[in-house]
Symmetry: none
Subunit: 273 residues, 2 copies
């Protein structure tokens, strides 16, 4: 299947290659491929996989990310796997005390986007299950990437490390696609709206308030004349900050009308109607 579906292979344009160094279990290769697929990474390079290649366990653990497994390239050693790359990041659980830049996944992802935009080819190294990357391997990278983790419980498995890097990479993809990302929508305030409605107008809000307040007045809700203005204000604040839709205003007015007639429904029920 490799090469049969190029839009799937690079659906979001050029991206860093994921380089797994000497992975031991096929399952981990597969779950790493799945994490790559989640975040638009598609180029998998595997250096000296312990159990050979192809590996049926990798495919089944990939949960459908077959195009990544099928397109994986196998290399005998790390220098061969990195030969055509311009810039290489080594993921490690802890900084190594090497004289090399140590970036967070977030900072590294920003760097990756800048380099990809400039036409560079990039790779991200992930070490073997038991003990990660050795110092010689790290020395082939241009910088180290270390995620902030609980130092008392710092081990991430390969798929999780790939997931975090992919996640940070894809944040930048989502932003550069220019889509209204959920984050932007959330920061803008009103949140997501069902497509078949629109925000209420101020006129509709005032109509609702007039309806609600006159019914509450009739019901004796405002205990004293002095307290009423403050109570009205609090209630208006509550509903205004909710950014109601037109439909919701209608529903709230329907509720108020129903509640004021609740006694009629009760009476009818008692009469067995």
């Amino acid at each position: 299947m490799a090469g049969t579906n190029s839009t799937r292979e690079q659906p979001f344009g050029p991206a860093p290659a994921v380089v797994l160094v000497n992975p031991q279990l096929g399952e981990n290769i597969g779950t790493a491929a799945r994490a790559m697929a989640n975040f638009g990474l598609s180029e998998l390079r595997i250096v000296d996989p312990r159990d050979g290649w192809p590996n049926p366990k990798a495919r089944s653990a990939a949960s459908g990310a077959d195009w990544i497994i099928d397109g994986a390239q196998i290399f005998a050693d790390l220098p061969a796997a990195l030969a055509d790359l311009n810039h290489v990041y080594a993921t490690t659980a802890r900084p190594r005390g090497m004289i090399k830049e140590v970036a967070t996944p977030e900072a590294a992802a920003a760097d990756m986007h800048a380099r990809i935009a400039a036409g560079e080819k990039l790779g991200i190294l992930f070490g073997r299950e038991r003990w990660g990357l050795n110092n010689d391997e790290v020395s082939l990278a241009h910088e180290i990437v270390t995620a902030p983790v609980n130092p008392a419980f710092a081990s991430l498995n390969i798929a999780q490390a790939v997931l975090l890097m992919g996640y940070e990479w894809f944040k930048g993809v989502a932003t550069s696609l220019g889509q209204a990302t959920p984050e932007l929508a959330a920061l803008a305030g009103p949140g997501l709206r069902a497509p078949d409605t629109r925000p209420a107008t101020q006129d509709e809000m005032m109509g609702f308030f007039a309806h609600l307040e006159s019914e509450l007045d009739a019901a004796g809700f405002y205990k004293t004349v002095e307290k009423k203005p403050g109570m009205v204000r609090n209630m208006r604040n509550l509903f205004q900050r909710t950014n109601l839709t037109e439909q919701e205003v209608k529903t709230l007015r329907g509720m108020v009308a129903s509640l004021t007639r609740a006694h009629l429904a009760r009476k009818a029920k008692r009469r067995g109607e």
Copy 2:
């Protein structure tokens, strides 16, 4: 072992609870616990685990995060699991078209830090393996969190979803352990609160919903049995996204009670009392 090692249990101070809703496989509970441990989360709540509890598979998959498995609390239903929480986030693979704020993990984590600093108790909901959270469950949350993912390959397993939320949470912990965090306050949006009140607990919200819904039922507001669940959900979504205070919940309940007695006040007025 629960409670035997309090420094391990809350090594970085108060943090959100992770709430797994109806998880099916013990392995997934275990790997979720491991991801929690990676990022300093320690309070695990499990709603109706399919295979019962304790579950030896959960422990072995936790890879040493035993204190989380041992301290896990089991609940029969979701409202019970959320009773003491002030603010609840529902993780979903995609926005649901519900009228509720949708945040990225990053924005949600900033919000969590601001709320935790203000003394709130928080929970993050994660759905079952096959189909996540249902709409009724989502309607109990105050906001939705959705990570930017490749839309053609959007499914994350439970542990991966926990990992991303934990990762974003822990970035803020790491920052606050070392550096100043002005940007957290700037990003966060818990809204202005009067100083003399506190956010409503989920228990108080459920009490309000039960009151409102039973009165509306008595009033014949839900026209058909088929329509009722959707109408209930929409109304809960509306009030959950409002981030009500304890005082506001009391006021709303007072309003509902008043409205259902409006006819008595009218009658009294007509009699000239």
